[in-house]
């Protein structure tokens, strides 16, 4: 399989070429174009209960689409995410990574999608009560709104709520006020997430709250 992230940060998309017999799993609705003879199969996302939980709690869909190349030659397709923004690829070798609700885009066979309880801290911080847990061996593609930046955390770091996209299991989330009581509520920052531990986090450079804060005053 060959996969490439193309397009600019604003409108990234994933171009996948499947060799005969290969398949790729994608969030339902992610396919934007494909060779006509690729086979599509909708698969319940890890069983009915798990799928339903993922749909309602982690912002993913009940079904995922499996695209399989049953032809004797290579076939191509493109996958897109719903929000404007960047896409990232992540190779896993028997390890685990946490994605924020809605960030999952596609993966290779061999990647297991699960639902993890992210904790009330995550929920109050606007990051969702649950998170998508990707594990196994293979590649997973995820995306978010804005450009994506990597940050290696060793110790503590503060991320405004709704900017966190993905993080390694070594990272724990804590909640705190952005400043003093007055500042936090009148300064527009409110609660922020304090990430602690050692590992990589991925941050999106824009947030939905930032977008609405910009555009809402202009709407009549």
């Amino acid at each position: 399989m060959q996969a490439q992230i193309r397009g600019s940060d604003a409108f990234s998309y994933l171009a996948v070429t499947l060799e005969p017999g290969e398949s790729v799993i994608a969030e339902s609705d992610a396919m934007s174009s494909m060779a006509a003879d690729l086979d599509l199969q909708a698969r319940m996302n890890g069983g009915l209960i798990a799928g339903l939980l993922r749909k309602y709690l982690a912002g993913e869909s009940l079904f995922v689409s499996v695209f399989k190349n049953n032809t004797p030659a290579a076939r191509s397709m493109t996958l897109v995410q719903p929000t404007p923004g960047g896409i990232r690829a992540l190779d896993l070798h028997n390890d685990t990574f946490y994605l924020q609700p809605g960030a999952y885009l596609a993966s290779t066979e061999g990647i297991k999608l699960g639902l993890g309880f992210a904790g009330f801290v995550s929920w109050i911080a606007g990051e969702g009560l649950f998170r998508t847990v990707v594990s196994g061996s293979g590649t997973v593609w995820y995306g978010a709104y804005g450009a994506l930046l990597d940050k290696q955390v060793d110790g503590e770091y503060i991320v405004d709520s709704s900017h966190l996209v993905a993080y390694e299991p070594g990272i724990k989330l804590k909640l705190q006020l952005a400043g003093g009581l007055f500042s936090s509520f009148f300064g527009g920052e409110g609660l922020v997430t304090r990430v602690t531990g050692r590992g990589r986090i991925v941050v999106q450079t824009r947030s939905l709250t930032g977008l609405t804060g910009w555009i809402n005053p202009k709407l009549r």
Binding site: R88, Q152, D160, S183, G188, I215
Partner: protein, 339 residues
């Protein structure tokens, strides 16, 4: 059309292995590679053709790095890759891109301002979703648009200040500007403006004055004074955005953002900008609002009113207007308007 190749992230959890592979392929020391790959995305090659760029990406993928290539306008003033980088890239034997020696010092692609006085900073994600990271030395602080802080070190403290007085209340922006300070130890702060678009940086030398369109302010040195300036009824009324401009004066860094891309234009003489596209301009320019091409075009061309700048100075123009976005999105809105 030339392409640039950027490393955007690690495809493997083993960052050290990827850095080692990178160091080996590009014949640099592992320390150098680690340093290069600490802050991502990092542009490593510019001025490539499409095929070569593609091969670079594949080679980088084998090292466990996510890479992407994108169109790149070589002479773009902002990206400012060194001239030598382009020359080296052109001489790369196309057959083995990974083995090609990189530029001795790959240009720090996210725009940095090491040679400038003021704070160390970098801009990532430009031009689509530009994100500002400022390094605050100990005992220094920075003023930031309310709600724009996205990340920061735990050593940084936040204070909320009423800035600009009542004027800012009327500009439609939050009247609060937050001040973030590194009290005892240095730290970094990441700032994400609300609108999708680019960021610009200006270092105001004492006495220089810049006018910002309402809403364009992102961050500044505490020694930069922000005031709102009444544009007058005629200018304000027709400029669409608001009756107010933000007047920035003093000494220090100033960052402002656009919706859309950003064009910086030196004006000597006269220059005309649609009112919705103005982001900022220097004080030396006189500006006058005028109707564009008579009443007929006012109603039928969609241009309406424009701003005519006169004099010597600089104008920053954004490549999209929020008004056009709203007009386009309005037809899809399904909110109850009677409320």
């Amino acid at each position: 059309m030339t392409y640039k190749v950027s490393v955007t992230g690690y495809a493997t959890p083993n960052a050290a292995a990827a850095q080692a592979a990178f160091a080996q392929a590009f014949k640099i020391t592992p320390e150098k590679a680690a340093e290069l790959l600490t802050t991502l995305p990092r542009t490593i090659k510019v001025g490539l053709d499409a095929d070569t760029a593609e091969r670079y990406c594949q080679a980088l993928a084998k090292m466990g790095l996510n890479a992407e290539h994108s169109h790149h306008d070589a002479p773009a003033a902002k990206a400012a890759p060194s001239a030598s980088a382009t020359v080296t890239s052109a001489a790369v034997p196309a057959a083995k891109p990974a083995a090609a020696a990189p530029e001795a010092a790959p240009p720090p692609q996210p725009r940095a301002a090491a040679e400038q006085p003021g704070f160390q900073f970098r801009i990532d994600g430009a031009p689509d979703f530009a994100f500002l990271t400022v390094q605050l030395p100990a005992n220094h602080s920075i003023k930031v648009e309310a709600a724009a802080m996205a990340t920061m070190d735990t050593s940084i403290r936040m204070k909320t200040k009423l800035s600009g007085g009542l004027g800012r209340l009327v500009t439609g922006e939050s009247i609060f500007v937050n001040e973030f300070s590194a009290d005892t130890v240095a730290g970094e702060i990441g700032i994400a403006p609300g609108a999708p678009g680019d960021l610009a940086h200006v270092y105001l030398k004492g006495g220089e004055v810049l006018f910002l369109q309402n809403g364009a302010f992102v961050a500044c040195d505490p020694d930069v004074t922000l005031e709102t300036k009444w544009q007058g009824f005629t200018k304000g009324f027709f400029s669409g955005e608001s009756f107010f401009l933000i007047r920035a004066s003093g000494t220090g860094d100033l960052w402002f953002n656009t919706y859309g891309g950003m064009i910086e234009k030196e004006v000597d003489g006269e220059y005309v900008v649609d009112t919705g596209n103005i982001v900022a301009f220097t004080e030396g320019l006189d500006y006058k609002l005028e109707k564009f091409g008579g009443y007929k075009s006012l109603f039928f061309s969609g241009e309406g009113f424009v701003c005519r700048f006169r004099g010597k100075g600089r104008v920053w123009v954004q490549t999209r207007t929020s008004g056009a976005l709203l007009a386009w999105a309005e037809q899809y809105r399904r909110v109850g308007k009677e409320a």
